[in-house]
Assembly symmetry: C2
Homo-oligomer: 197 residues x 2
């Protein structure tokens, strides 16, 4: 499974945000929604081999981990408002979606859980190794920061476990764009494997 | 300049759509906004070397070409709602943004205009040449369809001029994701050129 962790420093942790103001009242919930869209959607389908864990660290009840799974998601559209509406419902413990899971968990607890399942970590980092030179493992966890970046202490924590720091080049992309590029690089790798069989 | 043409078959051509329902009342204006975001934004900046022309072919007054320029755009945020709000204003000929231009123009007229400026075209196509094998020219126009695809007659029209059909691999990405991948491939190429200087 391809897994993504997005550290969302300002993403709110209660359903009391307005769908008409995702950047402000939602604490950049627009950014979160775009990351979810690119992690789980392709044209006319969902990526059933992928999931994304959003570590929401905004007020009033941080941290909360919101996990979305491509193989179980139902009735969600890829637009920002619809994705955010489902997060709002999940935070309110209202209508449940089998593909969305909310837990009171910290970034470090999430990482420990994924370590215990035997995962390898890739940390996106401007000084990381050029992705073109990395033999990406498909069943991995990719760790990304939001527009402010991954806090140093969280980066150090992940770096205690089996990991590699990778870079997507000299351009600083939006977090959501990084996810698209990672999928693209993994897709290329998979299609080469299939063609070589 | 990097230019993108998005053929948006259902995107509405009047300001009478609801910002609360971009997929429905806007004729997939959510998709349009995501394409614009990925064409023009990077982390904490705009791509000043890029523009995107959206050929809106929905009711009630098709076709309309909405062009957005990274070097002139002001006060727009990358979230879908804000981008759509600016398109709504532009369609209503209300508040003008120096980076948004609205014209009563067809897809073919737009292509002819870009041909007369000496541009080369890349058409995204599943049977196209693998992008890894293509030496991308930086100052080019990339032609994309929406979720329904580029109509055959429009594709044939572009193919009368200097062009190449390219493919991003075996996965069918969202149009907005295709734009991210194209920028990524062009960015890699540019950074190799700079490093080689």
């Amino acid at each position: 499974m391809r897994q993504f962790i997005l550290y969302a420093r300002k993403a709110v942790t209660s359903p009391d945000f307005s769908l008409d103001d995702l950047p402000g009242s939602g604490g950049r919930m627009d950014l979160v929604a775009r990351c979810i869209c690119n992690a789980l959607w392709i044209s006319h389908d969902l990526r059933r081999d992928s999931c994304i864990h959003v570590v929401a660290c905004g007020s009033p009840n941080p941290p909360v981990v919101i996990s979305l799974y491509g193989d179980r998601l139902r009735n969600v559209s890829p637009d920002e408002r619809n994705i955010a509406a489902w997060i709002k419902k999940a935070l309110a413990s209202k209508r449940r979606n089998p593909g969305i899971n909310i837990r009171k968990l910290s970034f470090q607890q999430l990482v420990e859980e994924l370590v215990s399942e035997g995962n390898f970590f890739y940390i996106l980092h401007e000084q990381g190794r050029d992705i073109a030179r990395v033999k990406l493992k498909d069943d991995s966890v990719f760790v990304l920061g939001d527009h402010i970046g991954l806090p140093g202490e969280e980066e150090k924590f992940v770096a205690r476990f089996e990991h590699e720091k990778i870079s997507l080049g000299t351009t600083s992309y939006l977090a959501s764009q990084c996810i698209t590029v990672l999928h693209y690089e993994l897709d290329k790798k998979s299609s080469i494997c299939i063609a070589g069989e």
